[in-house]
């Protein structure tokens, strides 16, 4: 249990000539939930994208070790099959591709990668029915094309539903709470909490404290201008809610 699932060391990254991440250090161990908070533009979503393998960003320095392997060397699909899951801030619509078909293709890629037999349509349906209840998704959502015509809340719930089916080792939730009403928020949180196991980990990326009322993190990190400027327990989130980010930044600057 000592080996971290994710170990980020001195990560620097950006686009073209703009530096966005300026030396991130973070270790996530099995069974842990980490939250990264920070104001807009602090680099939260960049971090999530780099972990998932979006090639729009250049990593200029540092490394990311996932379960003992160099994550940055892997293609995005390989990362997914190895158990990294990104819940998108803006899930993408794919017209013409049936949701169930899509998810089964994805799951079977994971299973093939692990050397397990693929699931046929019937076996998959049984699995899906069980997971659908967890997220209170309407049945017909799965008959529609991927994310097409879904409401904002449905899209986010669908992300967590996919996560429930794929059972990742490391889930990165990129602002999954944004745009959710309180009921949807509770459903999403319930989903994440149910999926928590001693051998997996979750990284929550969020702007607001409210998600953390429902998913209690073990660690909270504050991201500011491409660096983690403060880390602490769950109470740090409450403090931020109370005082805002300015307090911390001034504090940080004064200290530095």
């Amino acid at each position: 249990m000592n080996q971290p699932i994710l170990a980020i060391q001195n990560l620097h990254a950006g686009v073209e000539n703009k530096k966005i991440l300026k030396g991130i250090n973070l270790a996530i161990r099995p069974g842990e939930i980490h939250a990264i908070m920070g104001p807009n533009g602090s680099g939260k979503s960049t971090l999530a994208s780099i972990l998932a393998g979006r090639d729009a960003y250049d990593v200029t320095e540092g490394e990311v070790i996932y379960c003992g392997k160099d994550l940055l060397e892997m293609d995005p699909e390989e990362r997914a099959r190895e158990g990294v899951f990104l819940a998108f801030q803006y899930p993408v619509e794919i017209p013409g591709v049936n949701s169930t078909y899509f998810l089964r293709a994805a799951l079977n890629e994971h299973r093939k990668h692990r050397g397990e037999p693929e699931l046929d349509a019937m076996e998959f349906l049984t699995l899906v029915k069980e997971k659908v209840k967890l997220l209170h998704l309407p049945d017909d959502l799965l008959k529609r094309p991927v994310n097409v015509g879904f409401s904002g809340g449905e899209k986010k719930r669908n992300e967590i539903f996919q996560m429930a089916v794929l059972q990742p080792k490391l889930a990165v939730l990129d602002e999954t709470d944004s745009g959710l009403d309180i009921d949807a928020l509770r459903i999403v949180a319930e989903g994440v909490n149910t999926l928590k196991r001693p051998d997996n980990a979750t990284l929550l990326i969020t702007h607001y404290q409210r998600l953390l009322d429902h998913i209690v993190p073990d660690f909270v990190h504050v991201l500011w201008d491409g660096r983690i400027v403060k880390s602490g327990g769950k109470e740090l989130a409450l403090e931020l809610e109370d005082k805002g980010y300015d307090w911390l930044i001034k504090h940080d600057v004064a200290r530095g």
Partner: protein, 481 residues
């Protein structure tokens, strides 16, 4: 599933897999076109006089015509005098059984995945194999003949069923119809012929498999398919050609006739050599396909999957003459690299209560240009005619183009015409989303494209639907990277 890196390598190194040439002894005539050449072709085929006269009439008319230039595709002028108008595998004689077919030819078809050996054939599909415009073998003829179905090469039909040929030849696509149809009428060498008698449901899929082998030859086949009252037939054609640097002209004509209550389902999977990645070589596929719903409650349904050819230019059409007749057109046209396609349909409503449906899916990748051009015409007497058209375009990358030219002419106020069109693009976001769920880029593109084409694929006979999906996947390799 290979790893992502391998898949990308596969993409890049992808070659047209049917591009081989077979070493078959071929009889050709000297290049050039004049009345003597036409007389020679007719004589070689031992044709009755009505055929020669018809050919000459067509040729003389062709001389008065100019090459059309209205299509959305560009190509250098074609030198009609440098082409060879007759090429046939040598040693063609009456064959008593398939064992007598040139083994090299049989091998060619095995390589293409088409076995002419009846025992090995997929159950339920009869094949007419046409090489360089000459039919070399037709399978299951005897079984079909028991039900009165005639399925043979066009040449055999001219010899054995001249009355039927004379009655229907040119009745849907007259020799004056257009530049390439006139040329075809003058010089066509072979093709397939099929007649379904009254009340007979053809028990198997019929198919023609076209193969261009010789260099510098023009390809001119003619297919004539007649379904008599209450008859039904499902017919499929497939096409491939070797890879060559020069462009080759393929100008075929297909005529369908459906009498009262008859139904013809005609499917095409066209995979002529598209040219290389720089746009060199490839087939000019200039084809005239038309069907007439002559009788009441007759139905003609065209389904096409067009993935090959440097230029595809064709409009499988329906003339809805009989009352309550139905015309359908389902099309997937894909252009990659420098391919160009200008394709669509014409639905001519003449009878009362006639109905037509058009579903067209255009996919453009690389520098491909894809145009849908369609005409829906409701004539004065066509009371309560209805049409529904849907034209969707999918773009992959930012150097390709999609164009839609719908023409609608309604001369009867009770007519109802609906037209829907969409254009979408496979975005990097969609690909990344699939990647992030463990699906490779190649599979993601295939999934999206197949989803896009679903409505058309379900119209294809089962075995061919699977083939078509694979073909689309192969044709798109290298379109994203």
């Amino acid at each position: 599933m290979s790893t992502a890196t391998e898949t990308i390598q596969e993409f890049v190194s992808n070659e047209y897999k049917y591009g081989f040439t077979s070493n078959i002894e071929t009889e050709t005539i000297p290049p050039g076109l004049n009345e003597d050449v036409i007389r020679l072709i007719s004589a070689k085929k031992n044709e009755p006089e009505f055929m020669l006269n018809w050919r000459l009439k067509a040729y003389r008319h062709w001389l008065t015509m100019a090459e059309p230039a209205w299509q959305f595709a560009k190509h250098p002028p074609i030198d009609f005098q440098s082409a060879i108008y007759y090429a046939a595998p040598k040693n063609r004689k009456e064959l008593n059984s398939l064992d007598e077919v040139d083994p090299e030819l049989l091998k060619t078809f095995e390589k293409l995945g088409i076995s002419l050996n009846e025992q090995k054939r997929l159950a339920g599909v009869a094949v007419d194999a046409v090489v360089d415009s000459v039919s070399v073998a037709t399978t299951f003829q005897k079984d079909l003949a028991k039900q009165g179905i005639i399925f043979c090469s066009f040449s055999d039909a001219v010899q054995n069923h001249p009355a039927l040929v004379q009655q229907y030849l040119g009745s849907v696509v007259p020799h004056t119809d257009n530049y390439y149809a006139a040329l075809n009428a003058a010089v066509f060498s072979d093709g397939s012929f099929c007649y379904i008698p009254k009340g007979v449901r053809c028990p198997m899929e019929l198919s023609t498999y076209f193969r261009i082998n010789s260099a510098n030859t023009g390809q001119f086949e003619r297919t004539l398919l007649i379904a008599d009252e209450g008859g039904y037939v499902s017919y499929l054609e497939g096409c491939t050609a070797p890879m060559r640097d020069e462009n080759q002209l393929h100008a075929a004509v297909v005529e369908l006739v459906a009498l009262e209550g008859a139904e013809i389902k005609y499917s095409t999977v066209q995979n002529w050599y598209p040219g290389d990645k720089q746009g060199k070589g490839g087939i000019y596929n200039f084809v005239t396909k038309r069907g007439i719903c002559k009788g009441r409650k007759s139905k003609i349904s065209w389904t096409q999957v067009e993935t090959g050819s440097a230029i595809t230019w064709k409009y499988p059409s329906c003339i809805l003459l009989g009352d309550q007749s139905v015309g359908e057109f389902y099309s997937v046209a894909l252009t990659n690299n420098y391919q160009q396609a200008d394709t669509g349909t014409k639905m001519i409503h003449i009878g009362k209560n006639t109905k037509s449906t058009i579903i067209s899916k255009g996919i453009s990748a690389g520098r491909g240009q894809n145009a849908y051009r369609g005409l829906v015409e409701i004539k004065k007497g066509a009371a309560n005619a209805r049409n529904f058209s849907q034209c969707d375009s999918l773009l992959i990358g930012d150097k390709c183009g999609a164009h839609t030219f719908p023409y609608i002419e309604v001369k009867n106020s009770t007519g109802q015409v609906e037209h829907e069109a969409t254009t979408s693009k496979i975005g990097e976001d969609q690909i990344f989303y699939c990647n992030a769920r463990g699906i490779s880029t190649q599979d993601a593109v295939n999934m999206i494209v197949n989803g896009f084409c679903k409505e058309v694929f379900r119209e294809l006979p089962m075995e061919f639907a699977v083939e078509a999906q694979k073909l689309l996947g192969v044709s798109l390799e290298g379109s994203v990277g």
